[in-house]
Amino acid sequence: MAADAPTRPSPTVTDDSAVFWDAAAESRLVAQRCAGCGRLRHPPRPMCPACSSLEVEIAELSGQGTLYSYAILHHPQHPAFEYPVIAALVDLEEGVRLLSSLTDVSKDDVRIGMPVYAHFVPTADGPLIPVFRPSEDL
């Protein structure tokens, strides 16, 4: 096995969540958009909480966002990850929030409000998942 083989656990995919993870596996970042009222939503769910519509479209997202909050995880350490893990809540420009992690940044350079954008990394079983890196040189 190559030393750099992906080790991150693959997502738990359910019938309700597959819309997100299936797109991610193709390097696409998406959210559900209500076909009735146009509202975006994440995490995915079967009904629009604003208008009760069950009709849904897939909205392609740009992957651009700002860092709403973060956390630098030191302990416990799971062998699937490199530490510290920098957990991130990203507010995407389309108006939905995503939980992910940051790459390509030193923990001391992380700032709430910094612009970030999505890229995709493989997981242990193959599927890609979206993680974020800073948009500007630090």
Binding site: P9, S17, P49, A71, H74, H75, P76, A87, L99, S100
Partner: protein, 393 residues
Amino acid sequence: MKGRRTLARGAASIVGVGCTEFSRRAGRTELQLACESITAALDDAGIAAADVNGIVSYTVDPVEETELVRSVGLEEINFSARIPYGGGGSVGVLQHAAAAVASGTAEVVVAYRAIRARSGATRFGSAKTAPSPTSGHSGTTAMQWCMPFGVLTPASWMALNSVRYMHEFGVESADFGRAVVQLREYAASNPAAWGFQNPITLDEHQESRWIVEPCIHLLDCCQETDGSVALVITGSQRAADLPHTPVRIGTASTAGLFEQEIASDHYRPDLSVMDGTVALGRRLFEDAGFSRDDIDVALIYDAFSPILLMQLEGLGFCGFGEAKDFIADGNLALDGSLPTNTNGGLIGEGYIHGLNLVLEAVRQLRGTAVNQVAEARTAVISASRTGAILTLD
């Protein structure tokens, strides 16, 4: 009373409490731990097992009701319930028990939690990567959105909220540390506590290793614990004939908001405020007709120290962002305006998933706490999403 309708005020009382020792390794099953704490609570109440007809616990509690009934010797169960949302739902057992009693659905209800959070198969603080989509109805379905990214533990979930809180209000780790120093001071004089005879300094807090930077040092974390706590609840009329001064459930409530989760509460618009706790505070105080000035002692769910500060603010004991000053001014101490977590809290005493905070509230109102608040008559208990006011009045 004004505002919305709430639970019938004072219709039910806590008349018995029991617990096991709190330890690193109980050396016996959760079922046995539950049997021991329930039997102790019934003895304390002066009520026979045969009189119990309601049982309430958490969805995540491993004890099977059937095994419990056949072990403790309960004759006929007419009401049972399990409360979701993990520790956030812990005070919900009082709401359900009181509602069952007030409505006549049950006459005597036992509420319990038995846990081997230290020696058992799964420690909350261990790194797990295979969530079940429903997560045991603990209110943390968002685990499935966390784990591929290495966000594996309650500390890491809560940290995302805590860091935003620090950012919004200029709160620093030492501000959390001052709360922990107070909790450990209480624990130091509590023989049941992990922190018995072992107080800490702020320097020791700051030097303890990071669990999650920049908000959770090792000493900001509760103590994963083995043990059990049980409570006996019955109607206040019957309670008057029992051995102990009844502790009335003045009110008990739940407040869960749109997009709110529990530890993994990441989708509310403003994470610097526990707005679910704001709603809970409104239910407990304004809606039920209690005043914050009536509160003699507070028990606040402190799985991690940041949520202690955020709940003090959410409940309205100080303004948003002001808990750090409220604590630095000594208000959580026995001689302060709001003695808080006088058993040492979940951080100092141990983590029976929040139910030991209810135990401490009862002891305070009975006048039997190890760190007794003088003439305590009214206590508030908050687990962020569920809460209660207990009172002698």
